[in-house]
């Protein structure tokens, strides 16, 4: 460590840049953050980005080209801790919805035809842990400010926070919302990782699942809950696919097991 400051790199692979933008949006805190740590690479905010050994690398976006695989491996080699930030890095993002390689190839062709890309070859979108070891996951599309600052301040002090093994419903109940499921509106709150503050149900809009599937939750009860309320499990699963990326496969396995 140099002059006591942590060296941090923030990198963007393929995505909507929402997480980097959200970090930029921690405006008030941002100037402090830049003082407390030494930001090595942050493509959106500065034109003098340097690279080198890092204490922490935050990686946003999915891996979608060969060049990105190389970049990612290089980041892993240089960084002590790698943190995946946002839905694209943690599950592959919405672009990882075609989990079947043949389907992806077909769609790719429909979009680009047979033109060979000269600068880098495309690969099917995957989360970063498909290629490297990841030390911590910060989900969300985009990540939430509270969760980010929480993580960042802890990371600066050398520890990482525990993960959030709860579904959106938990916070939604705290917020005393009328449950949308009771009104017959299909809400993915029970199956989705918490962290957003149940924003959508707070606005009377169902959760679309943008934090990705909740891990380690007891899916049995959720399954029966949805079924009891008369929801079509097939279209719920289909809707879950939108924001589950490649993690959908594990999720469905678990869901299926529970539903036996």
């Amino acid at each position: 460590m140099n002059n006591g400051k942590l060296k941090i790199g923030i990198y963007e692979l393929t995505g909507c840049a929402g997480d980097a933008l959200l970090i930029l949006d921690c405006e008030k805190e941002l100037l402090d953050i830049f003082k407390a740590v030494d930001i090595q690479s942050f493509l959106m905010a500065s034109s003098d980005n340097r690279d080198g050994k890092l204490d922490i690398a935050l990686v946003e976006g999915s891996v979608s080209t060969e060049r990105e695989i190389e970049e990612l491996k290089d980041i892993r080699e240089r960084a002590e801790i790698v943190i995946a930030i946002g839905l694209c890095a943690t599950v592959g993002g919405i672009q990882a919805r075609f989990t079947d390689p043949n389907e992806w190839k077909k769609k790719y062709k429909e979009v680009y035809g047979d033109i060979e890309m000269t600068h880098t070859k495309p690969v099917q979108s995957k989360p970063i842990d498909a290629y490297i070891k990841v030390d911590y996951y910060l989900p969300g599309c985009p990540i939430g400010k509270e969760q980010f600052l929480d993580l960042f301040t802890r990371a600066v002090k050398g520890t990482l926070p525990e993960r959030y093994p709860r579904p959106v419903c938990v916070t939604c109940k705290y917020n005393e919302n009328d449950c949308l499921l009771n009104k017959g509106i299909p809400c993915l709150g029970p199956l989705t990782a918490d962290g957003c503050g149940s924003i959508c149900p707070n606005h009377n809009v169902p959760c679309f699942g943008c934090w990705g599937p909740v891990e380690g939750a007891n899916l049995t009860s959720e399954y029966y809950l949805l079924k009891e309320k008369g929801f079509d499990i097939e279209s719920i699963k289909k809707r879950m696919a939108n924001y589950s990326g490649t993690k959908l496969i594990d999720f469905l396995k678990q869901f299926k097991k529970e539903s036996k």
Partner: protein, 580 residues
Amino acid sequence: MKKISVDHLARVEGNGGISATIDGKVVSDVKFSIYEGPRLIEKLTIGLTPEEDVSMSPRICAICSLSHKNAVLRSMENALNIKIHPKSYLCRELMHMGEMVESHSLHTYYLSLPDYLGYPNAIAMASDFELEVKIALEMKHFANHIMKVLSGRYIHGENPIIGGFGTFPSRDELIFIKNRAIQFMPFVKKTVDLFCTLDYPDVPEKETIYACCEPGNSNYGFWGDEILLSTGEKFFRDDYQKLTNEFVVSHSYCKRSRYKGKPYSVGALARVNNLGERFKGETGKMYKKYFNKRWHVNPLFHNAAQALEISYCFERIPELVDEILKYEEDPKAVKYTAKSGKGTGLVEAPRGLLIHHHEITDGRVSLVDIITPTAQNAEDIERYCQIAAQKLLDSGKEDKIKERMELVVRAFDPCISCSAHMAEVTHTPSGSWKNKLEEIRKNSSPVYIGAGQQDRSDDACGIDIAQKLRGLGFKDVWLGSEIIRDDKLEGYTEKNTLVFFDAVDFNEKAGKITVLPLEYILTHSSISHKFVPFAASIKNLSLQKNAYVVGIQPDSVARGNKISPSVQKAVREILNHLRN
């Protein structure tokens, strides 16, 4: 040959680069590349419900997520035949103001100003311009607040839904927004003064076509049902493809657009050029004070135009709040019964015209076409960089090229995540080359030139066409070698159009015919580089602009003197067409 390249464009949203190749005295090839991977967004939502699509498609881009939201909603509501309540309409406009101010203030103060004042970034600038940096941050923060209140959260909010909103802002929240907007006015005026008087280098000056939404009723605004061009032409929303004609290039996942073969620009500068006369109030006064002819030709004025738009938004926000407050009741989202339909939504995102088109069949999304501003600007970004680089090279300032190209790219405020959007490859419908040739013949007198090499099988097809045209008694027909050797083009004027015939590898089936502008071929080496010497021998620049290449996809260009049957057939087709 030398290559100058900026691999990672700092302070540009996303991951992209710009490069120029210098060949002696000529900047032969400028490429604006997007390194971000393909996301196939338009394919992802096929088969989903309209609601799921409305949730997902703004994920194309976080920076313009609310513009995408407004565009997808307008498109869906047109497709499903929904008329939303006036309160919802006004709230969507207010929400849009939030995104416009946030994006413009970030871009002007944080991403562009450091360039003009000579700092590497805004943080470094903060020590000398503390007040500006601080208030600009406040302004952006306020804009984020508007976005959050209306859309649910700062990025990818789900509160705007088909038919209206989930919930509406309270009276107190609206009054707060109004009062805060008024407080900003003095700083807003300073912002306009600052950005309208910056010393914008005159390096990249050139005409272009500007396109934006026609807001209607002689108003300024950020959406409409028609597209307005600086040429005066207008298209109804469903006819947007007349403007955009997308195509793919091999150095970028970002698709490109040209209007009648020419690059065009969208964005704040396009809007101010097309609609600036409609500004009222303080903004109108400042527009009159600062707008001048250079704004027509210099893309660096994007920053000045953005400042004027910030001012427009700050004047419009209090008005909007008053109009919204007239409706006390919160309308329920309009329900719909339609199961199928087609619709288009036009919106002005901060970076320019954004088009969403959707088709719905049996309650499921069956077709999506999204055309983003950066995809439309990409061609002009390259063109202006090329002009800037060439001018610097001519005046011996080669060392400035890199920096200046970055400045040009940044002025366009390209958003690279939005350019990594995908649309269907529409292969040129067969026969469209005929229309193009007809257009050329109707509007000017063509000069035909056969290019290529006699001894390289299919590459001889251009020469073959020229010789046969001569045989048929056509005047103004030349061989490539004659032009380069003997200055045959002297005496032709801008009333003439140069039409080259050649074998061009554009990745198609052998024998397929296409018509491309020469300028396009010159800047895309992946297609063909042998036109560079021609360009050099066309001394009259307006002629160079008025030049096209009729290309036939070759089967083989190996050494040999036989033209393959498929290419022979294409040659006959072209001759038959020209004879009639």
